[in-house]
């Protein structure tokens, strides 16, 4: 860990972390129409983890079990590739996109583009990548458990 735990950062992290995560999800889905998207969203979420990391909140116990970064990466890639592959089953080409529109009462028209799902895959993958790099290079190389490995 870098330095000692900072009280300010720890406090900030407690409040910031969920907020930043929410923002990241928003940015991801907004990306189709305004600056943003899976990369940016994922990186923002990654940044949230960085803050958490800098605050010194251990990533290794609870987080490690719940969120194996490799799983994030794998899941993200599965989502992206499957989204890309689905149209093939309908006789279309790889990555052919579809646009679904629903009229939801009270909210109005809701539009979902299949490529947004693809972007979601990107989002998860990027989070996983940031997490994995951080955990690997940030951890104590001698005593800590191996990252992303079942031991």
């Amino acid at each position: 860990m870098i330095g000692r735990r900072s009280v300010i950062l720890t406090e900030a992290d407690r409040w910031l972390f969920p907020v930043v995560l929410l923002v990241s999800v928003y940015i991801t889905f907004r990306g189709h129409n305004a600056p943003g998207g899976g990369f940016i969203g994922g990186l923002i979420a990654g940044a949230a983890f960085i803050i958490r990391y800098l605050a010194g909140t251990p990533l290794t116990d609870r987080w490690h079990r719940a969120l194996n970064p490799t799983t994030y990466i794998g899941a993200g890639l599965v989502i992206a590739v499957v989204t890309a592959l689905v149209p093939l089953a309908y006789g279309d080409t790889l990555l052919e996109s579809a646009i679904w529109k629903w009229n939801v009462p009270a909210i109005g028209e809701v539009k979902l583009v299949s490529s947004s799902i693809f972007d979601l895959g990107v989002y998860f993958l990027v989070i996983g990548v940031v997490l994995l790099s951080l955990m690997s290079l940030g951890a104590d190389p001698v005593h800590d458990e191996e990252v992303g490995e079942e031991s």
Binding site: S133, L137, P141
Partner: protein, 127 residues
């Protein structure tokens, strides 16, 4: 086309090359980073003209979105490469306590050894 950006491209390429020529892996990685930035600025500034962000609904003349997409991909790939190089530097450091890029041992050995044929000297003894 902006002269300032062209100059910046030149400076970044020069600096990147210089850093790549150093022995310390850290500096080489810095060089890789700068080079990547150099190419990205180049693609954007040579491939497109400055303008309004290409978001439908905004006013003004849009700048070409394609270079942006290419550069975005390049930035992300560059991120991966830099992370991996840093891990290499870190690993190199844990092995031998420095981050200098050494010359290849085998090449050095061969350069100083006698020329051999199949592990033996050229055999010329038959009589």
């Amino acid at each position: 086309m902006s002269a300032a950006l062209i100059v910046l491209i030149g400076v970044l390429f020069a600096s990147g090359t210089f850093l790549l020529l150093q022995r310390s892996l850290t500096r080489i990685i810095l060089g890789v980073g700068i080079m990547a930035n150099a190419v990205n600025v180049l693609i954007l500034s040579i491939g497109a003209r400055a303008g309004e962000a290409p978001i439908i609904g905004r006013d003004g003349e849009f700048t070409d979105p394609v270079p942006q997409a290419l550069v975005l991909t390049a930035i992300v790939i560059g991120f991966g490469i830099t992370a991996f190089l840093l891990a290499l530097a870190w690993r190199g450091w844990t092995i031998d306590g420095n981050d200098d890029v050494e010359d290849d041992d085998e090449d050095k050995r061969v350069a100083s050894a006698k020329p051999l044929l199949g592990g033996t000297e050229v055999p010329g003894d038959y009589q």
